[in-house]
């Protein structure tokens, strides 16, 4: 079932950037600052460096079978039975990501914008447009990303510029107060959330029209997205201070509330809500697309579109199930999810590479 679509390398880069920013822009400062305090920007830098390395590995995996998606190449490398198992596990991971992110959207909107609205309604509306986007296909998703990116960048710049007078550089001091250890702890989430989750892009490598430029585009997207994240983390610390950043559930939202220019331009947090909804929409949509595509490829279906509605329903039902309360959810997200990400973002690609090289070597030696 070849999906007969192609996206340009520019669209690919834009998608990478948007997914990197994703939900991290809202929650990452808090999670990372919880461990690393005022040195969280160092964690961010470490995260970006490791992230770039990881992306390099992804592109290596992508080059093994440039015409196959990850699910297909897993089966190619691991064989039919074990491959199917690993693919299923991978799809389970993407699906759980979709569920978690949808949950996050509902939580955010209900806790800061509309307290009395049932989170289900918020999520149903959200899933509706996600299904709509996925049914329209990868090309449309990529184009939508291109439309949204300038807006996101525009709002981001406005936010940063308007907040810059409130920045207090003393808040960054002292550097490395408690040694390097908490910084490394903090960098774990900085590596996992924005960058490891990019492993799903292995599913759309075959649909990029200039495969030889994928690595460059991928690295560019990650670099730009990572810079945006590091800036937002640093601004959070500079303006809010490490304590407040760690304590807030959505530090970036508190940040946006701080904006005041004169007496007339204030209370602009809607801007941030818009920006974040756009990025998380792109992230959920792409993950949802990838899940449906992967499942359809695994089941050898003619197209993925018929899967979208049932999977969407499943998604809405699962969102309240995955965690009973926001405390549980936050705990899972900050304590265990990074390892979940690392398993699929680092372990899986490395394993794929290793098995591939062993097999080719083995084959060559037997020949």
């Amino acid at each position: 079932m070849p999906e007969n679509v192609k996206i340009s390398i520019r669209q690919f880069t834009v998608l990478v950037m948007l997914i990197t920013i994703g939900d991290s822009i809202l929650v990452l400062p808090s999670i990372a600052a919880f461990e690393a305090k005022q040195d969280v920007w160092i964690s961010g830098l470490i995260g970006l460096a490791v992230g770039l390395l990881a992306v390099y590995i992804f592109s290596m995996v992508g080059k093994l079978y440039p015409h196959l998606t990850l699910v297909q190449s897993i089966q190619e490398i691991f064989g039919k039975w074990f491959g199917t198992f690993v693919s299923l596990m991978f799809l389970f991971y993407t699906f759980l990501s979709v569920v978690a992110h949808t949950r996050e959207t509902g939580d955010f909107v209900t806790s800061v914008m509309m307290q009395e609205t049932p989170t289900q309604a918020i999520q149903i509306l959200f899933v509706c447009i996600v299904i709509m986007a996925v049914r329209l296909g990868l090309e449309v998703i990529a184009r939508t990303g291109e439309i949204f990116l300038p807006w996101i960048i525009f709002f981001f710049l406005i936010l940063v510029i308007l907040l810059s007078p409130q920045a207090e550089f003393e808040k960054l001091q002292p550097i490395l107060e408690n040694g390097i250890k908490p910084v490394l702890h903090g960098s774990l989430s900085c590596i996992a959330f924005p960058f490891m989750e990019l492993v799903v892009f292995l599913m759309i490598f075959p649909y990029v029209n200039q495969p030889q430029q994928i690595r460059k585009g991928f690295l560019q997207g990650v670099l730009l997205g990572g810079i945006v994240l590091i800036i937002i983390i640093t601004v959070s610390i500079l303006v809010l201070g490490p304590d407040h950043t760690a304590r807030s559930m959505y530090p970036t939202y508190s940040l946006a509330r701080r904006v005041t220019v004169g007496r007339f331009f204030e209370r602009v947090e809607a801007m941030l809500a818009l920006m974040w909804t756009l990025t998380i929409f792109m992230k959920v949509t792409l993950y949802f697309y990838i899940f449906n595509l992967g499942l359809a490829q695994l089941l050898k279906l003619k197209g993925y579109r018929m899967l979208t509605l049932p999977v969407g329903l499943l998604l809405i039902v699962l969102t309240p199930v995955i965690s009973p309360s926001i405390t549980y959810f936050n705990k899972v997200i900050s304590k265990y999810w990074p390892y979940f990400d690392l398993t699929y973002g680092l372990l899986l690609p490395l394993l794929l590479l290793a098995v591939y090289f062993v097999r080719t070597k083995f084959k060559r030696s037997t020949n």
């Binding site: 520019r10 447009i129 947090e269």
Partner: protein, 526 residues
């Protein structure tokens, strides 16, 4: 659901017989046939004459009164045939019977456009198109002589798309005038014109115009294919064609552009687009089209670049207001009061004291009554329309506020929204925005800003999925094309607009190689 194929075939099946039937030799029989076919219509004039002095040949001139120019018929047909032949030395010319047709054509008929007709179908069509028909006794063929000349609205100033600077002329209802208006602007042999006849009953002339070498051949082929697919009894306006050939029916967005300005058509042809002209309407269609085109007015290219850019940005802002104004007002005042500055909130709250309706209902009422006013003043004579709009806006608005039905702020919001919706140069796009405005208001009333965001995402997704004749509707924004940004949100100086839109004119990109004007040397010595 809406199509009934069994109905469509019944009358189309008998028409081919009519068209293929040849003429007979007998003149009277032929004339009888004409009278029968047209049901003795009183506007058909049949004039029987005798040609020549020695060997007289019976002939008949048939034309439609009002469509054909009767003065020309007298001067160039009757006079030639009845007087000139008699005066000339005719013997050696009219001796051989075989040649008489050729002789008449070569020597006597002093008209420009002469065609032979041998079958009834074309004969009747050209008769009803305003040509004069000349039939001769003993011949199973006749002439169709171009004598079209009916009362026509002259080329006048456009009423729907006015400009401050730029040509004022607009298309008319006559296809020939319209093609001439375009030709007058583009005198290149590569400006090609292909004509089709569409509509089984109306037989409307439809012309396709493009500049060979600039246009992408695929698009021309596609236009032909889509036009050929049309099987309909009548085409009365280009809107018929538009609905039958556009890419997507289930969309509020127009995917075909229409205009009555020749300069816009000329500019579009130069960009590699295809114009579809339909006889009987001044509205000319243009394909393929992208969303941005609806934001570009002709005048943008006649004013200086900086002015045009500012005005274009103003247009984007007003579309934004027009689409989201009431929705944002509803969302903020009923869901997100914390986003208003305190003083503003108190003022708004003071205005709303005693207003019995929720903000959404208030906005809906105002919007609907505004739409009613707009539609009413559109259909009325201009003089009355003005007083209607004054009554509507001033009297009803302020009375509603005084009575406490509506808050003054809502009147302001609706008024600014209404004004903004008129800024777009394209009326059909403005209607689209109006329709979507109600959707956004509904979303805002139930989900606040979140609903608006979701609505905007859905609209963008939909826009990104649209295509117009294969060209992505959102290009050059998505897919992003850097070179084409010079005429998208901004309008760069003329010398910087060196290339044509990449998505539309694929093979002939370079448009100009002018360099920016050099600054003159300062010779004053001062």
């Amino acid at each position: 659901m809406f199509k009934n194929p069994s109905l469509g075939n019944s009358d189309s099946s008998k028409e081919p017989e009519q068209t293929k039937v040849p003429l007979t030799i007998n003149l009277q029989e032929n004339l009888q046939h004409i009278n029968n076919s047209l049901g003795n219509s009183s506007d058909i004039v049949i004039r029987e004459i005798q040609i020549g002095s020695e060997r007289q040949i019976k002939a008949a001139i048939i034309f439609t009164d009002g469509l054909a120019d009767s003065k020309s018929i007298q001067n160039f047909i009757m006079e030639s045939l009845m007087l000139n032949i008699a005066n000339a030395d005719p013997n050696h010319l009219i001796t051989s019977q075989e040649d008489i047709f050729q002789v008449l054509k070569d020597h006597f008929l002093t008209a420009g456009d002469i065609k032979d007709v041998t079958e009834w179908g074309p004969l009747l069509t050209s008769l009803l198109s305003g040509d004069a028909i000349l039939l001769l006794e003993g011949y199973s063929k006749g002439f169709s002589i171009g004598m079209r000349g009916w009362k026509d609205r002259g080329v006048t100033e456009t009423t729907t798309e006015t400009v401050i600077r730029g040509p004022k002329e607009g298309f008319t209802e006559s296809l020939r005038t319209n093609t001439a208006l375009i030709r007058r602007k583009i005198k290149d042999p590569n400006l090609w014109l292909e004509t089709k006849e569409i509509g089984r009953v109306t037989k409307t002339d439809v012309a396709i115009m493009y500049i060979k070498g600039i246009v992408s051949d695929d698009i021309v082929k596609e236009v032909h294919a889509r036009l050929d697919r049309i099987n309909i009894d009548g085409i009365l306006e280009s809107g018929y064609i538009e609905e039958l050939i556009h890419d997507e029916t289930y969309t509020p967005f127009p995917t075909i552009y229409h205009t009555e300005r020749p300069d816009i058509i000329a500019a579009d042809l130069l960009e590699g687009k295809v114009a579809i002209l339909v006889d009987g309407t001044p509205m000319v269609l243009v394909v393929p089209i992208v969303l941005i085109s609806f934001f570009q007015a002709a005048e943008d290219y006649y004013q200086r670049a900086d002015i045009s850019t500012l005005i274009r940005i103003l247009r984007f802002i007003s579309v934004f207001i027009s689409l989201l104004g009431p929705a944002l007002y509803i969302a903020i005042t009923t869901f997100h009061q914390e986003m208003l500055p305190t003083q503003l909130l108190i003022n708004l709250a003071a205005q709303r004291e005693g207003v019995p309706f929720p903000a959404f209902i208030e906005a809906l009422m105002m919007e609907v009554s505004f739409e009613i006013l707009r539609e009413a003043s559109l259909r009325l004579p201009k003089a009355i329309a003005q007083s209607i709009s004054i009554v509507g806006t001033l009297v009803i608005g302020s009375a509603a506020v005084e009575a406490g039905f509506i808050s003054a702020a809502m009147v302001i919001v609706v008024a600014i929204t209404a004004i903004s919706s008129f800024v777009l140069p394209a009326y059909n796009m403005a209607m689209t925005i109006r329709m979507l405005r109600f959707l956004m208001m509904g979303l805002a009333a139930s989900f606040g800003l979140y609903g608006i965001i979701i609505g905007v995402i859905a609209i963008v997704l939909h826009l990104c999925s649209l295509r117009s004749f294969g060209v992505p509707y959102m290009s050059p924004l998505a897919p992003f094309i850097l070179e084409d940004q010079k005429d998208t949100l901004f309008r760069m100086p003329r010398w910087a607009m060196f290339s044509r839109p990449r998505m539309i004119s694929k093979n002939n990109i370079i448009r100009e190689q002018s360099t920016p004007p050099e600054k003159p040397q300062d010779n004053t010595g001062g």
